[in-house]
């Protein structure tokens, strides 16, 4: 047992900030991907022909029932096996993005179904096509109504992004591990990393609250 000394972390401040920065980049990229694919999956499940809808539903079911860590291993090692060699960062963003796309799709699907049918009927009756109705009338309303649960998913994404450290992406956990490998002070470094995650979390929550308020006002 050795005494705790948080000053050992100080020389590594810039390393940890870089790690936190990459965690933020990773989270934002994966969030964007999860949002776009979330909408695509939701629309596919609801409106696509069975030949497309069923495989999408199967993938969603598979991704919701298995751990993200396992999915990352599949994507990181699996893509190489079928001849697609992408760097760890790409695999991490794709893995996180797809995992949360499935959760977003689940929320968005419910959101789309919950949009008043009168909205669709109104759009169709003034001459909008099926796709136009979906694109300009239904989906914007569904997205607006599902901001809180999607925001919840994004907060989960920020925390789960720590998992990609296992495939060697230089984010916050990885930075902490670098510091530990030189100082042998895991407690101090992991607590510092936890504090940085907590701060990132507060920033993200604040941002989401702004979005929620904006959506609320313009309704």
């Amino acid at each position: 047992m050795q005494g705790l000394d948080f000053s050992v972390v100080l020389p590594y401040t810039s390393l940890l900030w870089t790690g936190a920065w990459w965690t933020a980049v990773l989270t934002v990229s994966a969030a964007a991907l999860s949002f776009v694919f979330g909408i695509l999956f939701a629309v596919a499940v609801l409106y696509a022909p069975k030949l497309i809808a069923w495989p999408v539903r199967f993938v969603m079911w598979l991704f919701m029932g298995t751990p993200l860590l396992l999915q990352l291993f599949l994507i990181y090692f699996g893509l190489v096996q079928i001849g697609i060699d992408i760097p760890a960062l790409g695999a991490g963003i794709i893995g996180l993005g797809l995992h949360f796309a499935v959760y977003n799709a689940d929320v968005l699907r419910a959101g789309i179904v919950a949009v008043d049918p009168g909205q669709t009927e109104g759009a169709r009756s003034i001459g909008f096509g099926r796709w136009q109705t979906l694109r300009h009338v239904v989906i914007p309303q569904a997205v607006r109504n599902t901001v809180p649960p999607i925001g919840g998913n994004m907060i989960a994404l920020l925390k789960e992004s720590s998992i990609v450290s296992v495939i060697g992406i230089a984010e916050l956990v990885h930075s902490a591990q670098l510091g530990i490998s030189e100082t042998f002070r895991p407690f101090e470094f992991y607590i510092t990393a936890a504090a940085l995650y907590y701060i990132l979390n507060l920033v993200l929550e604040g941002g989401l609250r702004l979005v929620e308020r904006k959506v609320e006002v313009s309704r």
């Binding site: 298995t66 751990p67 291993f73 096996q81 925390k159 895991p186 907590y198 979390n201 507060l202």
Partner: protein, 215 residues
């Protein structure tokens, strides 16, 4: 798809799946106890208790479970806590899910109609009696679903303990992916077993929900 390989590795995965189930069940038990205490603290009249409950829930929900496991397992020895991987994983998972479950329990208690408690108090029930005989029995039904969602998350989250070398499903999958270079087959086997566990949890939750439904 190399089905012969899948068949050959299957027994190892079943054994690993039992470890996943074991650590999940034990973490669930710990989590429920911690969650009940934390929810009680957050609903308490004492400001100190409320503060303790709030800090616990906020810290454990505001930081990644992976970091919590690392602090406990790798950082623990520095403050005199030496734990085997399995024990560290179980305690880490339990404390983490406890924070989420505390919110599920608190939410259920708060969504019991206030009139119920007021009526009980007005016919002479004490605060504790009201909670014990009127509010909690009704809240218990409301918390089945959210606690079920937490439990499914716990089973999937238990994959994280592979990083502190607990030999469970994901750890085993990672080892076999490394040694066979057949990620899709290995993923298939591990996914099948996770799905079975998750399916069983979902069924149990359904059963409880129906058993205690208010008709």
């Amino acid at each position: 798809m190399d089905f012969a390989l899948m068949q050959r590795v299957f027994p190892f995965f079943v054994e690993a799946a039992l470890v996943t189930v074991e650590i999940s069940v034990l973490a669930l038990a710990l989590g429920l106890v911690v969650a009940a205490l934390a929810a009680a603290a957050k609903l308490s009249r004492s400001r100190l208790m409320r503060a303790i409950g709030t800090v616990y829930v906020s810290v454990f929900r505001g930081t990644p479970c992976l970091i919590q496991l690392f602090v406990l397992y790798f950082g623990g020895p520095q403050i005199g806590i030496n734990l085997e991987p399995f024990a560290a994983g179980l305690i880490g998972l339990g404390l983490n899910i406890g924070a989420y479950m505390a919110e599920s329990i608190r939410g259920a208690v708060l969504s019991v109609d206030r009139g119920q408690a007021e009526a009980a108090r007005s016919i002479g029930f004490g605060r504790f009696q009201t909670l014990r005989k009127v509010v909690l029995p009704q809240a218990a039904r409301l918390m089945i679903r959210p606690l079920g969602v937490n439990t499914v998350a716990l089973v999937k989250g238990s994959a994280l303990v592979s990083t502190i070398s607990v030999v469970e499903l994901t750890y085993t999958a990672q080892r076999f992916i490394g040694s066979t270079y057949k990620p899709f087959e290995i993923f298939g086997v591990a996914a099948l077993l996770y799905m079975i566990v998750v399916f069983v949890v979902a069924k149990v939750v359904d059963l409880l929900d129906r058993r205690y439904a208010i008709v």
